[in-house]
Every structure is written in C-alpha cells, then in structure tokens.
Amino acid sequence: MTRVVVDRERCMSSGICEMEAPEVFELDDDGVLQVRQPADVSQVATAVRACPTGALALVD
C-alpha cells in the first residue's frame, strides 16, 4: 500500500505539510514531525509537493 515517508535528515520542521494536511502531519512539542498514515494518499499530494526541503515522499 502506498505510504507517505519523511526523510528525517532533510525535514527542518517547517510545518508547511501540517498546514496543508493537518489530519496527517503534526509537529509535536519537540518540533518532530508525526505522521498518521492517511487512508487515501491523494490527500497528501499537495503537502508532498509543498515541502520546501523535499523531505516527503510517497512509497509503495
């Protein structure tokens, strides 16, 4: 099943993905990105494209 993955080296906690898809992404109190896998990955397509560091990817 297609899933969304975060490259921890690249993510710099900008929160842009959270603004696009708050049901899926959330920066916790330590600024670490938490991901709730969406039932439908089309929900996160915009967030994946918007990530300024290219830290998000969809993998099968």
Binding site: M12, S13, S14, G15, E26, L27
Partner: protein, 422 residues
Amino acid sequence: MPTPTLDAIDLSDREFWGAPPDQRHAVFDLLRRESPFAFFAEPVIPYIEPGAGYHAVTRYADVEAISCRPALFASGSGAVSIADMPPDLNEFYGSLISMDDPRHGKIRRIVAKAFTPRVLEKLVGNVQAVADDVVALARQKAGGGDGSIDVVADLAAPIPLRVICDMMGIPDDDRAMVLKQSNVILSGGDPELIEDEEYAVTAFLQAGEALARLMTRLAAERRSRPADDLTTALVTTEVDGERLTSQEIASFFILLLVAGNETTRNAISQGVLALSEHPAERDRWAADPGLTRTAVEEIVRWTSPITWMRRTATQDVELSGRSFPAGSKFLLFYGAANRDPAVFADPHRLDLARDPNPHVGFGSRGPHFCLGAHLARREIGVAFRAFAEQLPDLEVSGEPARLQSSFVNGLKRLPARLTGPR
C-alpha cells in the same frame, strides 16, 4: 514608457530601484528572455570592498535549481548582501539566514519549535485583536482630522511589529526604539532614512547594537523568570543538548525584525495599493471571505517583498548548460521568477483566485525557506479581512513613496483617506 534595452540595464544602479514596478518588471521580462544569468558589477558602498560581480537569476527554474542545492550554492558568505559581509556586521546580521549546514540545521530546528502551526494557532486570537485595534486607531485618526491616513504608518507597519513584539514579549516602552532601529537596518541605505550615506555602516552597527542590548537584557530576565513568550522558548529550547547563546538570541531577534516585520509590512501596504489599482479584484475579495487563502498567496506573489537572496557557488558548477566557476555569486530574483510565464499563466495579471500558485515569495525550495511563512500568511489574511469589513471606505489618495532599495520591495508612505460612510 521607454522600451528597455539590454546594454542599458544596470541592476546595481540605485535609481533603477526607485522606478515604478511596471518599469522594473519590463526590465526583468527582458532579462529572463534574453539573458537569464546577466552579469553585473557590484554597487559601490562606502568602506566595503566591492567583489567581482554577480549573476542576476530571473528564470523560475534556475532560481529553484540553485535554491534546492545548498551544498553547491551556499548562504554562508552572505545571503542578504551583495558584498561579502565584514565580520563585525556578520556578528549581528549573520544569523540563520547566512548560515550553512551543519550549524544552520541545528539552529533552524531550535527556532522551528517555537514556530510550529500549533504554536501559531494560539496566536490567531492575538493577530485578530492587534488588527482590530490598529484599524480602530486608524479610524480614530482619520476622524480627528480630514480623513487622511498613511497606509504604511497607520495600517501596514503596526500590525507585524506588534505581533512580533507580543510574541517576543518586548515591553511597551521599548517598542518605539525597536521600530526606529529596524527601519535603519532595512533602509538599504535609502537617503531619507539614513541621513548620511558615509555613515550607513556605522548606523547599521549602532542599530544592531541597540537591539542586541535590549534582547540580551530580556533573555536574561526570561532565564530567571520564564514567561509565556517566544523569548522564553528560545532561551530554554535544546536541540542535541545545545541551547542558543545570548548572542545567538540577539542575532535571531534582529533577523525576525528584519525578515518578519518589514516584509509583512510591505506585502500589506503594496497589497492595498494593488487592490486600489484593481477594484474589481478588491470587490470580489470583499464579497467573498472564502477567497482569502488564494488571495493571500497572490498578494505575496504580486508584491514579492524580498527582491532577492544571494547564493555563492562552492565549486565549479553547471546550470542550464552553462558553467560557472567556484565563488560565482547569484542573486535569486524572486519577483522576476514570480512573473515567469513558463510557470504562471498571464503573469502580469492580478488574480486573487490563482490556484495553484507555486510562487517563491517566501523563498524557493530549500532549507532556508521562510520560517515565518505561516505567520505572515495569517497576518496578511487577517489584515485584509479587517480592512474589507471595517474600512470599506479606504481609498488611496496619492502617489506612493517607494523605498530605494534593491533588496526590499517597499513603500515608505502611501497616502489614503477614509471617506466615512456615504
């Protein structure tokens, strides 16, 4: 308007940056088409040794290609000045934005914790209250006189300044000083704001020192008595067991003032101007609050308040089939990329419903992407809704006074009137 010719263009000429936007966009259209890496000699600044010159990058794809490869195109020798920064200026102005990894990543992750969407959510009420208050004061000022206000001083400047000062917990008594010194820093040497160009560097240093003193004092107070503000978060946050030093906090505060305050101010003031020039778009937004999300993006694209950031090649590099030696400087012209017809249909049209709108007003892809992008979006959206609802009679009544700066696309004044209910 005379048609520009390639040989006559000099982006280092201060006069060019006081010209109306239409003229500047015509020049950038020409550069983008004919000479997308045009080379210019560096502007002359007293007491600073000019370097070898820079390339003006005007195509969207090239801006992105440079921005997303920070190891090849570094920020460390200066992102916000064309000349390499002298070390004593670097001390105050060389925070975050002019850093490279690994230091950049570390500091960025510390400050990012204080800027998450959830932290911001707590601020929403605050932004709304600030905007309502500023609008009421403008109304009061207009009512007490002949209806005139200055959009810059009475509407656009106070909103982001108060939001940042509230976030940082700056005492009321210090705020006038903060506004004055941040104006000096952002003047880009504009003769009206720095009286004597010879002393521009000294004025910069003094402004930096005054702000640094304030922040050092405040940081010390928060270490002993924590409060619910960003300063407290900055003095207490750790990443990999490391905390920011007082010096780093002071530099970061200066960066926030400059990067967060003046940019948002200019997006608001020039947004007001753009809407007055496009009354059909203004009416459309006034009638439809649902347009706010896309309208805010279009205002940032349209105004592109930060004109450029600099990157420097760390080794010999190739871009769009051309080679550049190590040490080459590139200015990423965001306003030009934001009008690139290869990406934006009908780029010189203001379209508040434009979607998608992948503008690079907050920077292009890469690790330096604007830390305050959500805050700025929120401030701009709240401000324009407050204007639409509470100042429907706002009318621009005179010519804007433009800041003569290549770095900040800004207005010093924008005369307007509140005509009152009719």
